[in-house]
Structure formats: C-alpha cells, structure tokens
Symmetry: C4
Subunit: 203 residues, 4 copies
C-alpha cells in the first residue's frame, strides 16, 4: 500500500528533544535542604555530594545512550510505524531516569539504600533491554538499514550491545549485597563506555 | 498577495519540541511522599504504582498523537496562518496533559477519584476534538495536501480518526459509573492504538 | 573580514526550543492546593480557573510571538552577531513569562491583584519592545532581509507591529484602575491577534 | 575502518536543546516566598530582585556560550566520538547552571553568601575549562575543521578564548573578599562579552 516511507529526520528531532530534556531536568533534583540557614550553606553544599554524583552518572548515561541512538540511526535509511513505537517505549524509559536519580541521591546511604539502588539499576536494565529491541528490530533482515551500511560495522555494534542488559542486570543485583557498590558500578560503567567510545572506537 | 508559502519544517520543530517536553515533564510528577523515611522507601515505591501507570499511559498517548501528527504533516506540502493557530491550540492541549496526569495519579482511588478521572478524560477528549479540526482543516478541498498525497490514504486516515473523539468521550463518561474503569480504559485505548499502528498499518 | 555569514537555521532551532519550553513549562504552575482532600477535589478544580485562564492566555501569547518570529525570520537571509544577542534578550523575556503567569494566577483577585497585573503586563510590554527592536534591526537598510523580500510585505509587517508595545503598555496601565480588566485585556489582545492572523492575513 | 564520518547537524540539535532547556528552566527558580500574603506581594516582588538579576546573568551567560558554540561548530566539518563526549561533559556543566543560580539568588547577601558565590563562580570556571578543551580538541592539527576554515579566524578565536577560564577563576576568587562583588563581576563579564561580540566582531 502507498504508505509513505518515513525517513529518520523527524524521529531524530523528537528523540533528541526527549534525550536533551530528560538530561537537563536532572538538575531540578539537585537541591539544598529547604530551610538551610545561610550559616550552614557551605556544609550543606558538601553534604549533598551524592546529588552531584547521581546527576553526573545519569547525565553521562543518558548522553552515552544518545550517542548510540545517534550512531545507530545514522545507519538506517527509513523507519516504520512499529519502529516508531519501539522508540517511544525506549524514550519513555529515558524520560523516567530523573525519578530514580532523585531517589538514589536522597537514599544513597541509610535505610532505603537497597530499594533506591534496585530502582536505579532496574531502570537502566529495562532501558538497555528496550535499546536491544530497538537495534535488533532495525537490523533483522536489514529491515531499516541503509543499502551501504557495512555488515561488519553492523555486526560489531551488535556484538558490543549484546552484553549491555546483562551488565546492567548484574550491577543491579549487586544492590542486595551492597547498594553503594551497585550505585558506584553504574558510574564505573558509564565512564567505561565513555572511555571505550573515545579510545577504542576511534580506530 | 505575496505572502510566502510556508513549508512544514519549522512547524515540525516547534511541535516536536512541545510534544517532547510535555511527555518528558510527566516524570516531575512521579514522586515519593515528602518525608518518607528510608525504612519505608521500598513500600512507598510500590504504593505509588498509579503514578507509574499514569506516567506510562500519558507518555504513550502523547507519543501516539506525535506519531499521528508526524504522519499527517508528512502528507502536507504547506501550512497557512490559520493552520498555525489550530496547531497552537492543539499543542496547548498536549502541553496541558501533565496536570490531569498528576491529579489522577494522586486520586486514583478514594474521594476525588471521579473528579480526577473526569478531568483526565475531558483533557484527552478536547485534545481529540482539536486533532480532528487540525486534520479536517488540512484536507478540506485538499487545502494543505501535497499533490501526490494518495486520496485513498487520506480517506483511510479520515475514517480512522473519525471515532477518536467519541471513544474518548465515552471513556470519560464511564467515570460517573466507575472512575477506575475510566482511567484503565485510557490505558487500553493507548495500547490498542499502539498495537493497531504496529500490527495493522504495516500492511 | 572573512567571518562566515550565518544563516537563520540554527537560530531557529534554539529559538524554537525556548518558545516551546517556555510555553510547555507553564503547566507546572497549574496546581491544586497542596493538602486538598479528595472530598474537595472537584470544587478545587473549579476554584483554580484563573490558573487555566492564565495558562491559556500566556500559551497563546507565546504562540503568537512564535508565529511572528517564524514569519519574520522567513524573510531574512542571514543573521549577524548583534542580531543573535538581540534575539537572546528577546528569548530571555519569553522564557520569563511563566513567572508572572504563576503570580497572576494566584493573585487574580484579592490583595496583591494590582501588583500581579502590573508584573504580568510589564513583562509583555518589555517583550514587545524587544520584539520591535528585533524587527527594526533586521530591516534597517534591509540589513538582514532576503533579496526577494517584498518591500510591501515588509512595510505591512512594520505597520502592524508599530502599535504593539503601546497596546501592551496601555493594557498594563489599566491595572491601576482595575487589575482584573487589565488581565482580561491581555486575553482579548491574544484572541484578537490570533483572529486577525487567521481571518485577515489569509487574503 | 568504515565508520561513518559524522556531520555536525545532529550534535547541534541535541546541544541546542540542552542550551535552550537549561536557560529556560532558570525561570522555575524565580519565585515569591511561599505564603506571601497578597498585601505584601508588591513588596515581595521587589525584594526578590537578586532572583531577577541571577536569572538575567545566567541566561545571558548561557546565551553567550550558545553563540560561541554555534560559531565554532560552524567552522567544523565533522565530529568524532571523542568530541561527542567532550561535548556531553560541556553540556553537563551548562545544564548544571540552574542549581548555583538558584543558590546565589537565595543567598546573595547574609550568611552563606561566600559559599553561594564560590559555587556560582566555580561552575562557570569549570564550564570555561571544558569549553577550552572542546575548542582545542577540534583545532589540534585542524582535526575537525572545515578545509575552508580561515586560519586567521581560527587563531583569533583561540586568542579570544584563552583568557576565559582565568577571568572566571579570578572573579570566583574575589568571593573570598566580597561575594557580592564576585557575583556582580559575572554580570559585568556577561555584558562585556555581549557588547564585545556586538560592537567589535562586527567588523
């Protein structure tokens, strides 16, 4: 039927919007305690360091996912409506990130730390699963790929994505033993992905 | 008169912005109760499930409206100033969605559930009415359509949009009998539209 | 000197972002009173009608300014750095709108209504002044205009913009006599501009 | 290896989004004190002038950084993955600005003023350092530059950026002597950069 084949352009605009907004909204949850007296401000600004750390880890993770979204869409020639909806579910997870970030920043230690770390980890794990779906749907039978998309590049990306959900799931489960270690692992993973992207993929 | 014929490009940028922001702002209303002690965090994270559900339904509904906006604009060659204003009224409704979402998440059950469900449903009903206007204005006499826009595609879209406002109105009115059923219906409708888009329109 | 002549494309992306975000953020200030019991929700949803009205008037006013920004940029072939900064000051005013909107919604009647109406009106008056600057800078000596920009269209736009700041200033000063009439005037002006755009300029 | 050479287009969309959102979110922190009675509203609207000033300075500073980002990207033909990540760290700092803006607006005078001014200044200093990195990475060996990028323009930009981090660092350190003078300096710097851009670079 004569349904117009959609290009990726407007999908990118909408997706970039959600990625950019989700990342930028994170700052609304970095806050000094209401009623902090001026006297105590310096101390309070140091005390809330988990908020800064959570902000940085979540911003970087969203940024990495944006870079990957960017790279993979660059290999596609078209989108179909099923793909639009897979993308909407993926964006729904990305846009959800500010909530667990806020929770983990407020419950990094003390009672509630395990619940917070599980929420944080589960969010990224589910996001990684949707991201896998997004990629696999696009490449199955080269459904959405450009004619000139190099099979070896596609294969390499597939291999590099495969462990993603498992790594996130593993880091999440660590929260049952130590929620702080689990939280830190997500920071390490983000830095590792950033470094890998910068150092290895440049070849 | 020599008024420049506008293309749809910048309308898309602005509209995509509003759709993306309205959807992403929804997360600001997913919150644990202020003063939740750490001890109770796990329980509180489960207790607020209506917030997650309302987030998902509203995000998906905005996403579906974005896909449709996307699809229909793809059939248009130009916009005029009247259409720009119809679009602004449509976006005004889309951007309104976070408010009823917040209200329905906090009043899913208990006193106030009927008022919350009516507000939620009325918002989507009015949005659907504006969306019908948007489409009908564009196609009347093929006013804004591209020369190559297939009449059978246009007709099929018109037929598929026609029941929209009535379905939403019906689901809204159900709130007088059972607000919870009404709320759930909006989730079902969203999933149905998503599935229909993915499964049926692919042909 | 070999400074690259800038096109209007990226200016539009950034500006569209600010317009879209400022308009969409307005909804964050539509709120039921904290601690509203479920019982009273229906009544509370009606009581806050000034919030809905302020939301609609501000959204529509931002939308109209966006349409005009859109139309005038469409007549320009290039931007220079001075223009970029005039645009930033204009956007600074647009992005300010959610604050007076919030204030006027909470102080539509009762003590404080005059201060609120003056703040609301002054914001739009200053915005209109910046908008005049924006347009006059662009057309002085046809500085930024496209070669094919029709002088009669440019002249007509200039004439239609000239009364803008005075109309807004007048509506603002009415607040000293009646703040409610002043507030309502901004709604009337917005509807008038929308209608004029739709009905008159279509010729 | 057959990695696609990326153009700057989508980087601009995402970056413009973050710049626009960070600037527009600033307004959420301009607020009258909760519980301000209507009677006192006029006085309260004047009392919070540091909020307006902080809003204007931060908005203008973000705007200037956007103009520079815009100008420098216009000289680039391509981006690589390392550059994408440098850009993400830069955007992470831009998106952070609303937090120190909020703090400095609430602690402009009184106890806590030094801590607030240091936080504000340190944020812009680190941002300027990342911005230097961003530019130096791009021009090293003309890595990302367009073939026709004029070396004298590139050199002039490099010279004009060199003092940036030092100026910001100096203004920050002034806070130990007088936090108010430090805060005001950031306003002066922003106005100076804006004026320099408008008056000098037009040649």
């Amino acid at each position: 039927m004569a349904e117009r084949v959609e290009t990726t352009a407007r999908l990118e605009t909408f997706s970039d919007g959600v990625f950019a907004i989700a990342a930028t909204l994170l700052i609304l949850d970095v806050n000094v305690r209401a009623g902090t007296s001026g006297q105590a401000l310096g101390h309070e600004l140091l005390r809330i360091w988990p908020s800064y750390a959570a902000y940085a880890v979540s911003f970087l993770t969203i940024g990495i996912m944006w870079v990957n979204h960017h790279t993979t869409l660059g290999l596609m020639a078209r989108v179909d409506r099923a793909f639009l909806f897979i993308n909407i579910f993926l964006l729904m997870m990305i846009a959800f990130v500010p909530f667990p970030t806020r929770v983990v920043a407020q419950h990094f230690t003390g009672a509630g730390d395990t619940a917070a770390a599980l929420l944080y980890g589960a969010t990224f794990t589910v996001t990684a699963v949707f991201y896998s779906l997004f990629w696999r749907y696009a490449i199955a039978g080269r459904r959405l790929l450009r004619d000139d998309a190099d099979p070896s590049v596609v294969g390499r990306i597939s291999r590099s994505y495969r462990p993603g959900p498992y790594i996130y799931l593993g880091a999440t489960l660590v929260a049952f033993a130590s929620p702080q270690v689990s939280d830190i692992l997500f920071g390490v993973i983000a830095l590792f992905y950033a470094a890998e992207n910068v150092l290895v993929r440049q070849r």
